[in-house]
Amino acid sequence: MTQLANANGSVVAEQLRAWNGEAVKQVLEHRGETTIVVPREMLRAIALQCRDNPALKFNLLSDATCLDRFPVEPRFELNYQLVSLERRDRVGLRTSVSVQHPVVESLVPVWPGANWMEREIFDLFGIRFEGHPDLRRILLPDGFEGAPLRRDFPVEGKR
C-alpha cells in the first residue's frame, strides 16, 4: 500500500520545499521509490529546479508515462522518472490532470528527450502538452479516432 512518508522523507522534497513552499503536495515512499506529487501548474518550473539545483542535478529524464484512474477525477496521473547520473539517485515526479482540461506544460524545454515520450502520451491518452515543438501522433495513424490507452476505450477496439 502506498504510504505517506514523514515530511522530510527525501532530499529532493526538502530542496523543493526550500525553493518554493507550494512545490511539494505530497511525498510518496513506496517499496524504496520516492515519488513527489507536484501541482500541475508548476511542473516545468519544478523540473527545471530538479535539473539545475546543485543539490539535485537530475540531468536525465528516464521515462514519462501516464496512468488513467477512470472513473476517479482527476483521472490522469503523469509519472516522470528522473535520474541523477552524478548523485546516483532516482526520483519520480507525479502530477494529476483532469479529463475536462487535459493540458500540461511540456518538459521538452527542460529535457529535449521528453519530445517523443510526450508525443506518445498525447497519441495514446489524448493529453496535450503546452509548449511542445512538434505535438503530432507518433504511433497511431493520423486518422485514428480516440485515445486507446484510456481505460474507457475497449481492448478489442471500437467498432
Binding site: T2, E33, T65, V83, W111, W116, L149
Partner: protein, 398 residues
C-alpha cells in the same frame, strides 16, 4: 503522418523517402531525409508501423499471462523484458526472490545480451557491406538459442523468467553446454575483431560518423552503449544494481569518441564482460536449491505438492483462473538491456489485472537522437547511424 509535401523545406532540396521497407532500417522504420545533393539537411523518423498495442493488451491479462506479451516487445531481448516486468511486479508484491533464482536470471540475461549484440554486429556489418561477419555472428547466436531452448523449450520467446523466479529448474547437463559456449566465445569475438577493428573500410565508414556530445545525449535521454561511447559510464547494473548484480565483478566499457566506431568498440567490449559475468553466475548457481520464491496464492505450487496437499491444488486453480492481486500502488523497475535502460512501470488497483503496464523502451528513446546525429552527414552515414543506435522496431512501436 509526415508526408513528403509537408517535409519539403526550400526548393533547392530534395526529400527522399527512406523506408519503411529499406533493408538498412532494420524492420519498418521510415525516415524522411531532406537532402542537398548527398548531404542530409534534416531527417524526420516516422514510426508506428509495428504498433500492436502491447501495453493495452497487458491490461486485459492477469499478471502472469502478461509475461508472454513482454517477450514480443524487444524480440532480440525477450529475457530482459521478462526480467524488467517481473522485477516491477515483484516490487509491487514486495516479494523477495531466492538468490539462486537471481543468479540464474543474471546468467540468462547476460547470454541474451551477447546474442543481441551478435545480431547487432552481424546486421550492422551487413549494412556496411561486410557480408561474412553476419554468417559468423548468427552461427554463434545459434549456440545461445540452443541453450535457451534447453532451458525453456523455446528459442526466442522464452518467457523463462517468471514472477518470483524462473519457470523451471535448469535442465540436466546445462553446465557443460554453457561452459562449451563460454570456452568457444572469446576466440570467436577475436575473429570478428580481426576482420573488422583494423579494417580500413570499416573504420572509414564508422570513424567520426554520427558524433554527439555527451551533454546532448544525456539531454536526449539516450542510454546504453550510445551514451557509454560518449564517456558517460551509466549502466543500471552498476549504478542501480538489481537481481544481485552487485555481487558480480565486471567493468563498464566506455569510450570518449562518441562516434559509430566507438559504439562498435563498446559493444564488442560488453560481449567480453558478459562472458565474465556468465562465468561468475555459473559458479554461484548451486546444483540444488529453489528456482522460485514461495508465496501461496501468487507463485504456483510444486507439481508434487499438488498431488498430496489440498491447499496447493486450490492455489494452483486460483492462480490460473482468477490470478493474484498485488496491493494497490505503482512500481518502476529499470534494467540494463543491450540497448540501454529498459524500464517497466506497473500500476495495480488491487484487482488481478494490471491497471497499467508501460515499457520505457530504450530503442524508442534512443531513436530520437537520429535527426541530431545525421544532420550535415551523407546518406550513407545515415545508414551507419541507424545501425549503431541499434533499434529493434518491436520495441520502438510496441
Amino acid at each position: 503522418m509526415t508526408t513528403v509535401e509537408s517535409a519539403i523545406g526550400t526548393t533547392n532540396t530534395m526529400v527522399l523517402n527512406m523506408g519503411p521497407q529499406h533493408p538498412s532500417t532494420h524492420g519498418v522504420l521510415r525516415v524522411l531525409l531532406e537532402l542537398d545533393g548527398e548531404n542530409v539537411i534534416s531527417a524526420i523518423p516516422d514510426i508506428g508501423y509495428l504498433h500492436t498495442g502491447i501495453e493495452k493488451s497487458c491490461e486485459d491479462k492477469t499478471y502472469s499471462q502478461a509475461i508472454t506479451l513482454t517477450d514480443r516487445i524487444d524480440y532480440l531481448n525477450p529475457l530482459g523484458n521478462n526480467l524488467a516486468y517481473c522485477l516491477a511486479v515483484e516490487k509491487l508484491l514486495g516479494l523477495e526472490v531466492p538468490k539462486r533464482a537471481q543468479y540464474i536470471r543474471v546468467m540468462m540475461v547476460e547470454l541474451q545480451r551477447i546474442s543481441s549484440h551478435l545480431v547487432w554486429l552481424g546486421t550492422h556489418a551487413l549494412d556496411m557491406g561486410a557480408m561474412s561477419i553476419m554468417l559468423y555472428c548468427f552461427r554463434e547466436r545459434e549456440e545461445i538459442l540452443k541453450i535457451f531452448e534447453r532451458f525453456s523449450g523455446q528459442r526466442m520467446m522464452t518467457s523463462y523468467i517468471r514472477i518470483g523466479g524462473v519457470a523451471v529448474q535448469p535442465p540436466a547437463g546445462w553446465r557443460e553446454m554453457v561452459k562449451r559456449f563460454l570456452d568457444m566465445m572469446p576466440a570467436r569475438i577475436g575473429e570478428y575483431e580481426a576482420i573488422l577493428t583494423e579494417n580500413r573500410i570499416w573504420q572509414g565508414r564508422l570513424k567520426g560518423v554520427g558524433y554527439l556530445s555527451p551533454e546532448t545525449l544525456i539531454g536526449l535521454s539516450t542510454t546504453g552503449p550510445g551514451l557509454r561511447a560518449a564517456g558517460v559510464a551509466f549502466d543500471n547494473r552498476k549504478m542501480f544494481p538489481y537481481s544481485s548484480y552487485e555481487a558480480f565483478e565486471f567493468n563498464v566499457p566506455t569510450r570518449t569518441e562518441s562516434d559509430c566506431y566507438a559504439r562498435y568498440l563498446v559493444r564488442v567490449a560488453e560481449m567480453r564482460e558478459s562472458i565474465k559475468i556468465v562465468r561468475q553466475a555459473m559458479d554461484k548457481i548451486t546444483d540444488e536449491g529453489p528456482f522460485k520464491a514461495e508465496l501461496p496464492g501468487v507463485i504456483p505450487p510444486e507439481r508434487e505438492k499438488m498431488k498430496t496437499e489440498m491447499e496447493a491444488l486450490i492455489y494452483h486453480f486460483k492462480i490460473f483462473t482468477e490470478g493474484f492481486s498485488p496491493p494497490p500502488g505503482e512500481a518502476y523497475a529499470a534494467v540494463e538491456s543491450p540497448r540501454g535502460e529498459l524500464g517497466c512501470f506497473v500500476a495495480s488497483d488491487g484487482s488481478p489485472k494490471p491497471l497499467r503496464v508501460h515499457f520505457r523502451g530504450p530503442s524508442f528513446v534512443n531513436l530520437q537522437a537520429l535527426p541530431y546525429m545525421v544532420k550535415g552527414q551523407l546518406i550513407a552515414d545515415t545508414v551507419a547511424c541507424i545501425g549503431t543506435i541499434d533499434i529493434v522496431l518491436g520495441e520502438v512501436d510496441r
